[in-house]
Symmetry: C2
Subunit: 538 residues, 2 copies
């Protein structure tokens, strides 16, 4: 029924590792999580099994009996709601309005833009029956909504006064992929926002493309503590039907794979010509609108988990964590715990009042050690402990989830604000660490031998580039071949073809292109005019 | 392609009716909306055509080329977002958490609870293909998510410590109905929240059923200004698989039809036994959980429009209106409008600062008369006019959308707070008016002749009741027969069978049942033990 992988290693390495704090000599001898409750593989050793364990054992996601579909549990949906809240407020400031178009699309509408439908048709799911009756004609489930929305745009847009039209919807979409599904990253149903705009001029449309791309960057960096590279997609990799596609690319250091994090497309007049989205301009001439579409999906969550998670489980960035701090009083069986309990409650209340998402774990039936593991597995950024000795010394013990760092804070310094500062520091340091890891793995390669060596060591490669579909195919084919022949290990994920990730927008820190040869020998006559980033990707 | 009805009457009654204010002698002679822009049928005369015109011409909704599916435009989606915001915050206070389960359900899971699947199976849409390939087995789109969620509940719930489990999701659902579709009220895809809870005891579950029902009442009354009757459904009308169903019933005075506004179900142990949702209780015994499910949908929007709309178009309750007040400066061609424009902008800024959703309509190319109609059609609750004479007298003119009432307010009394008070007053008076209309149409009927007479005059009927499926069938059949034979007019909607709406929870204002006969003559031996509300419904 379920796709949930069965864990073959019965050893719970977690349980062995746990050190109970010295103060703790209370009920029960076991201090860690039970067999199988913790993560029992290492991120570096078996990444895909690690990922599967982290997302399920942290109660983030569950498998489902329809292949490629997943259950988003509360702690997980909370992250997406945080992204929604931020992004929705930002686009509303820009004048974007929310709408809701149907899930269903007719064959005729879906096929109106030819390049577009070719990009999607193998993955389209079709409804053909209701109850026991056949439908008159099959109806598709949206893989994206361009062809659903644009007939209405043609109707609503008549005059230049109707422009710009900037609409967004938060929906589920369906792409019935047969590639190996990866929770959050590649699934048959996923959740996203899709923005669809129409403008009078290309300039206005262009401007929006990059404004939205900046918001996507902010979602990753300011909320998820994940660094991104902004860039444009090559011809081969752009959205089906777009003039150009911009992207925020993210990077999973563990397996050296990039993930396309969100895309903002300029559609030019491709769709407006097909769907007859025309307006009377100020000068009375009839013109076709310029359009954009842009989308950010729950893939964000997968990237966040893959980037930050560690051998103990989930590591949540504070701004999207369902719980930002957990307060754990160290309670002793057969002793009077009143004073410690009272102080823990005070701390809890203070933080709650300050608007921090906080939990108090004063369960008597669990040991502190078990609780530490429990909350670590779930990724809670900060743990606050208080025991009788702490109380004597008028202090609390703080422990960061991301680094494991422990330190004491005098109660006189404790406040909502001081804890907020700690949380911000955690955010910054998670982001900086991930950025450092990513930047170290961007390697300048001028020749094939340099390229394949860097690639098979888990890097992304910058190459001297001149836009070319042939060059792209060449790199794809050759890297596929040589990755199989190389030492690369299936467990590390260093297999398969490399493809172009993007042409980074900011090329200022890259070496000069002067005098460099085209990376693609067959087009040696074309001088490279930018650096393009290639790599393996999801 | 489109289902949009074509309007056969070309006369635009709207345009003729518009009285331009005396001050207004500016550009252009036409003061009203263009041909076909306004509503050209009366609510009382052709309700369904009126409804269709109101929802489309106000730019609330658009028709779509898949039958029974609709496009929710920004002003409309704003109402639903307002409902979401309120309800989501309230259930989170109760400890409910949001999740997201897949859209898809396997045949096997769907059919686990027999009564349940029988209630839904004719309306289930099936995906059978992806691209050009047949799926191994057809997969259904959720008509509701009991059977999707409860296998996970069985897995997640092991101990009494795992309870209560209270989850909610905001989703689209699909019911491929073949009955006549009515936008918002009955469509093939709609949007809702569905809450699904599991408890240790029936008492806790019962309590939640009614807590949620109260929140539904608050959504209608406090946000949408629509009065409801809380009640329980009869056996015939309860949710498929529930022990009992509670409902908030709403009423459309124009055609005498009730609309089931939202339902909160107690599922007893029916699903927990089928899905094996069991837990170890404190006493170590294994028990089945008690469950509830509850849902409120975008049907709310249809009820709001039907209850409040008038011959000029939409009438929006202030708390959910995309725009609560529109400021219209009366501008004169070839005159210096600076002072009026400045004051209008000041008023606009003051209101915006106060958190009121306000628009300034200072378009020069439109006359004030046209603007009045434009904003009235879209339902904006309050209009604020200011012209040169007003400025001289240091006053503004206010006009309420719901009553048409116009009055002046000295500028010295104008403030964000004074306008908020006006908006609250509008809300209260819309609710009170609708409540009065509804209450006048609840008629006590003790015999069949009284019943059919009241019914065919567009009323809901209270009858002396003793739960009985046979009685229900009797009333359904007989009312269907006699409505066809009666004088009732198809245009008014007074046709078709009556059914039970609910047994109102509050019976205190109804007459004593003492000595009354059972309304259903064949069961004269069963004494009535409550009043039940019957009527025609959507």
């Amino acid at each position: 029924m379920s796709e949930q992988p069965t864990t073959t290693t019965a050893n719970n390495t977690k349980e062995k590792k746990v050190k109970a704090p010295k103060q703790q000599q209370q009920q029960g001898s076991s201090s860690g999580l039970k067999q199988n409750e913790g993560i029992d593989v290492k991120k570096q050793e078996n990444f895909s099994e690690w990922y599967s364990q982290v997302i399920t054992k942290s109660e983030f996601l569950d498998y489902y009996d329809v292949s490629g579909c997943y259950i988003f549990r509360p702690n997980c949906w909370f992250v997406w709601e945080s992204v929604q809240k931020f992004f929705d407020a930002e686009i509303k400031k820009l004048g974007v309005q929310n709408v809701m178009f149907p899930l269903f699309v007719t064959k005729r509408a879906l096929e109106t833009e030819k390049d577009h439908v070719e990009g999607f048709s193998p993955e389209v799911a079709w409804v053909t029956k209701s109850g026991n009756s056949d439908l008159q004609e099959p109806i598709a489930l949206r893989p994206t909504s361009e062809t659903i929305m644009y007939p209405s745009y043609a109707k609503w847009i008549q005059s230049h006064r109707d422009l710009p039209l900037r609409l967004n919807q938060w929906t589920n979409v369906v792409r019935w992929e047969f590639k190996h599904a990866v929770p959050f990253i590649r699934s048959r149903e996923f959740y996203w926002q899709e923005g669809h705009s129409a403008f009078k001029s290309k300039e206005e449309a262009d401007e929006e493309v990059f404004t939205i791309l900046d918001l996507y960057k902010r979602v990753y960096e300011e909320l998820l503590a994940v660094p991104v590279i902004k860039g444009t997609k090559t011809e081969n990799e752009k959205f089906a039907g777009a003039d150009y596609t911009t992207t925020v690319e993210t990077f999973i250091a563990t397996n050296g794979r990039a993930v396309q994090g969100g895309t903002s497309h300029h559609l030019g007049q491709n769709f407006s010509k097909m769907f007859k989205i025309q307006f009377e301009a100020e000068n009375k001439e009839t013109q076709f609108a310029y359009q954009n579409s842009w989308g950010l999906s729950t893939r964000t969550l997968g990237v966040m988990i893959m980037v930050h998670g560690d051998d103990k489980g989930m590591v949540l960035p504070p701004r999207v964590a369902f719980c930002q701090a957990v307060v754990i009083p160290l309670l002793f069986k057969d002793k009077d715990n009143t004073a410690v309990t009272e102080k823990a409650k005070e701390i809890y209340s203070e933080l709650e009042k300050a608007g921090i998402r906080v939990k108090l774990d004063d369960r008597l039936e669990r040991t502190p050690g078990w609780k530490y593991n429990y909350w670590e597995l779930r990724g809670v950024p900060l743990r606050i402990e208080i025991g009788p000795k702490d109380l004597e010394k008028q202090q609390i013990m703080l422990c960061r989830r991301d680094t494991g760092e422990k330190w004491t804070m005098p109660l006189s310094e404790f406040s909502g604000d001081s804890i907020k500062m700690v949380l911000d520091k955690i955010h910054d340091s998670m982001l900086n660490k991930a950025r450092k890891e990513m930047n170290e793995r961007i390697v300048v390669t001028r020749t094939w031998p340099e390229f394949i060596k860097a690639l098979n060591s888990g890097n992304m490669c910058l190459i001297p580039w001149h836009e070319s579909k042939a060059a792209e195919e060449y790199i794809k084919e050759k890297s596929k071949l040589e990755s199989v022949q190389s030492q690369s290990d299936a467990n590390t994920g260093l297999t398969g073809a490399a493809k172009s990730l993007c042409v980074p927008l900011d090329q200022s820190s890259f070496p000069s292109l002067e005098g460099l040869e085209n990376f693609y020998p067959d087009e040696a006559d074309k001088k490279p005019n930018c650096w393009a980033l290639f790599g393996r990707s999801y």
